[in-house]
């Protein structure tokens, strides 16, 4: 009896130790002694051609790089940032991951969790990718991510629904936008879809009004000081409130998500249930995956955010992000760099454009873009006097989160323009 018990005790102790030990040790890939390298990669396409693109790209890359294996993991877009932060903190980060840039990238750099890529970017890559795209991935002159596409923002709309409502020309000013909203409503069409459940799509209306209201200098200074005392910020909030008064958004927008399913804002556009959506250049790809036949929406059009009277911002300025990929600090340096150089080569970038319907970052690959809306996106991007990052990315997670929540509250009738800025101040105290 005693002997049995003692055996059981040793077993239990052993098991406990093993449990604890395995619980504490987790990690990304690494290189083994025989020169073989295994890396993990996190990207945010969970369906359709986007996911297929990454699978194919990695398979092609592995064919020419026999010693490198890359495991691709699809992480749902809304979950990605939280999971990534947890993984980075626990030391089990993926070797290659989608980088949003801005304040989020800065926090990772400050904590020494990403690799500086300056020695790894090849000269071919440097000449193929525009300087502007790289500048979005740099902090203090050092590059921390490889840009893969440019994502300028504007309003995507259905040409058929516009015609149905008798709108002949795309709105240039905010007054023209209001007229279009009235006409669409009269025709029984929900004018603007917005996925306020995810908060940021609603907040992008505030960001674009701020882009028109505030000067470039004010925008940049706010990124450093995180103070929003300039009256232009209140004006931007009031502009959102004024727009909201016209009741332009799809019914029940507060519980509408941005990208998931036919009931999401992108799904409403894809199924002709709403006419317009303010979004970044990834939207055509998302819409295409939500149309009944999973093909790109044939009547999709694009126009830049309308001008607003009385603002200090340049009327042609554009808001836009750059998607990039970073290597985590623990990633095998050479292999990771080689893969990142590979994904911006012209053939891969052409495939990228076909998979995501988004403007590629490789200037040679941009030439094959055929869709009228993407051509106008690229033209507007190239003509813009300056491009501002999305404000939630630019001003970091904490302020971004507070801005997003404040704008949603405003749209739902809970609080006003100055409450957005009060919320930001409160948030700043918490972190």
């Amino acid at each position: 009896m005693m002997r049995k018990l003692r055996g059981a005790a040793v077993l239990a102790l052993g098991l406990g130790t093993v449990l604890l030990a395995t619980g504490c040790s987790a990690g990304g890939g690494g290189s083994s002694s025989d020169g073989k390298v295994t890396m993990t990669m996190w990207q945010n396409s969970t369906t359709g051609p986007g996911q297929a693109f990454w699978k194919k790209t990695v398979a092609d890359f592995e064919k020419t790089h026999k010693n490198i294996t890359i495991k691709v993991q699809s992480i749902q877009n809304e979950d990605l940032d939280g999971k990534l932060q947890t993984a980075l903190n626990s030391g089990s980060a993926p070797d290659i991951f989608l980088q949003r840039g801005g304040g989020k990238m800065k926090a990772m750099v400050d904590a020494g969790q990403v690799l500086a890529l300056d020695d790894l970017v090849s000269s071919e890559t440097k000449s193929a990718v525009g300087k502007g795209a790289f500048s979005a991935e740099q902090i203090d002159g050092k590059t921390y991510a490889m840009p893969v596409d440019v994502l300028p923002e504007g309003i995507y709309y259905s040409k058929d629904l516009f015609a149905q409502a008798g709108i002949t020309d795309t709105p240039k000013t905010i007054d023209e936008l209001n007229e279009a909203v009235d006409k669409l409503k009269a025709a029984g069409i929900a004018p603007i879809a917005v996925g306020a459940k995810d908060a940021w799509p609603a907040a992008h209306w505030f960001y674009n009004f701020a882009l028109r209201a505030c000067s470039e200098k004010t925008l940049n200074e706010a990124a450093a000081s995180l103070k929003f005392d300039d009256p232009c910020w209140t004006k931007a909030g009031e502009d959102v409130a004024a727009l909201n008064k016209t009741d332009p958004f799809n019914p029940g927008f507060l519980t509408t998500s941005a990208q998931q399913g036919a009931g999401s804002s992108a799904g409403l556009i894809a199924n002709h249930k709403a006419a317009m959506e303010l979004m970044g250049a990834w939207d055509p790809g998302v819409i295409a995956s939500l149309t009944p036949d999973k093909k790109p929406l044939p009547d999709l059009g694009w126009f830049p955010f309308p001008t607003v009277a009385g603002g200090k911002g340049d009327p042609a300025a554009i808001m836009g992000g750059v998607d990039g990929y970073s290597c985590s600090a623990k990633a095998p340096k050479e292999a990771c760099g080689e893969f990142l150089n590979y994904i911006v080569t012209q053939p891969v970038q052409e495939e990228y454009y076909k998979a995501f319907n988004a403007p590629p970052v490789n200037t040679a690959a941009q030439a094959i873009v055929t869709e009228s809306y993407l051509k106008s996106v690229i033209a507007a991007y190239n003509d813009a006097p300056y491009v501002s990052q999305y404000l939630d990315t630019n001003y970091g997670q904490n302020v971004g989160n507070a801005l997003n929540t404040g704008v949603v509250d405003l749209l739902a009738g809970k609080g006003n323009a100055s409450d957005i800025l009060t919320g930001v101040k409160d948030a700043a105290a918490k972190g």
Partner: protein, 341 residues
């Protein structure tokens, strides 16, 4: 655990000769010295057994409950972004911010409403259903299963299903329109005046099965003889329920209420699934737990989030202890067994 001091006093009490007469336990009055060596080795064996049997559970409890609580308390004293090691010590600064935050007052109010409404809505209804299902009626087992099924379905499925049905252009509004009750169409989830009631409806639908099952089990344990005796004495059905069933169901009801209170305080998953990461506060359904995730993880203020976690822990613990002390004590008093007998 035995304690050598207590043992001695026990032995001392036993030794007087009067005990052999009063208790009739002559066998127990043996010289303590003769017993001790045997007892000691037995005690070691017992201790060993206790260590082996409870060891794994204690290790897991310490590692996954006590350690995280301690870490949360530690991180709660820092302004910390969650990257690297915390360095910016702020003392009780985070706690001061929490209690000054209007949004936190709101979530406290929401939690209180959910707690009270859960008890008020589910309790009486579950008792009535349990009494009904305790009768011999046709299709009883099918009704039991139907009532219990929502409890078995995972929160994510329940949340997704209800949020699709209650969308402004969802099935519920469509049904109302089709049966001529179009006037009742409303924004079930987005209107702050209605959203919390929608949430209560879903919670009640989901968890009432659990209450009913508990009460049914409680009803089964009431001896049949009591009802027979009361019936012979001429008590009506309602008198029997009022005077016999309910009082004897008391312990079950009190335990259910305890579980319901704890569940209400910690409510997270349903709200998070239905309203997502951001709009629960706008819709008026945010809870302490969604506040913690929103302010901690979404905003990246991990130090602050940990402080919120500590506050939730203290609130839940306080309420649980008070309830145990003043409500549950009479139920558990006889149920606890002493260490050695």
């Amino acid at each position: 655990m035995t304690n050598s001091l207590g043992e001695k006093t026990l032995a001392d009490q036993r030794s007087p000769e009067g005990l052999s007469v009063a208790g009739g336990g002559t066998r127990r009055v043996s010289p303590p010295a003769g017993v001790r060596p045997v007892r000691r080795s037995k005690r070691w064996g017992q201790r060993f057994e206790i260590a082996v049997l409870s060891g794994p559970a204690i290790i897991i409890f310490l590692a996954f409950v006590i350690l995280p609580v301690g870490l949360a308390a530690y991180y709660g004293f820092y302004r910390w972004k969650g990257y690297g090691v915390p360095t910016d010590f702020v003392g009780f600064g985070n706690y001061a911010l929490i209690f000054a935050d209007k949004a936190f007052h709101e979530v406290l109010a929401h939690n209180a409403v959910i707690l009270v409404l859960s008890l008020v809505l589910q309790g009486p209804l579950a008792i009535v259903l349990a009494l009904l299902l305790n009768q011999k009626i046709r299709g009883r087992s099918i009704i039991r299963v139907l009532i219990f099924v929502p409890y078995v379905i995972s929160e994510v499925i329940v949340g997704t299903g209800w949020s699709l049905m209650l969308q402004t252009n969802g099935a519920v509004n469509g049904l109302l329109g089709n049966i001529g009750l179009g006037a009742l169409k409303t924004d079930w989830l987005s209107d702050p005046k209605i959203a919390i009631w929608s949430l209560m409806l879903i919670i009640s639908w989901k968890y009432i099965g659990f209450a009913v099952i508990l009460f049914l089990a409680g009803l089964q344990s009431i001896p049949e003889e009591l009802f027979e005796a009361a019936a012979i004495d001429g008590a009506s059905y309602w008198q029997i329920q009022r005077r016999i069933t309910l009082p004897l169901l008391g312990p079950t009801i009190r335990i259910w209420a305890f579980l319901s209170i704890i569940g209400s305080l910690q409510l997270f998953d349903l709200v998070y699934i239905i309203w997502g990461q951001y709009v629960a506060s706008t819709a008026g359904t945010s809870t302490m737990a969604t506040y913690m995730v929103g302010q901690g993880r979404n905003a990246g203020n991990y130090g602050y989030g940990n402080a919120v976690a500590v506050v939730i822990f203290i609130i839940s613990l306080t309420i649980a202890l008070i309830y145990q002390r003043f409500v549950l004590r009479r139920d558990t008093a006889g149920a606890l067994t002493e260490g050695h007998k």
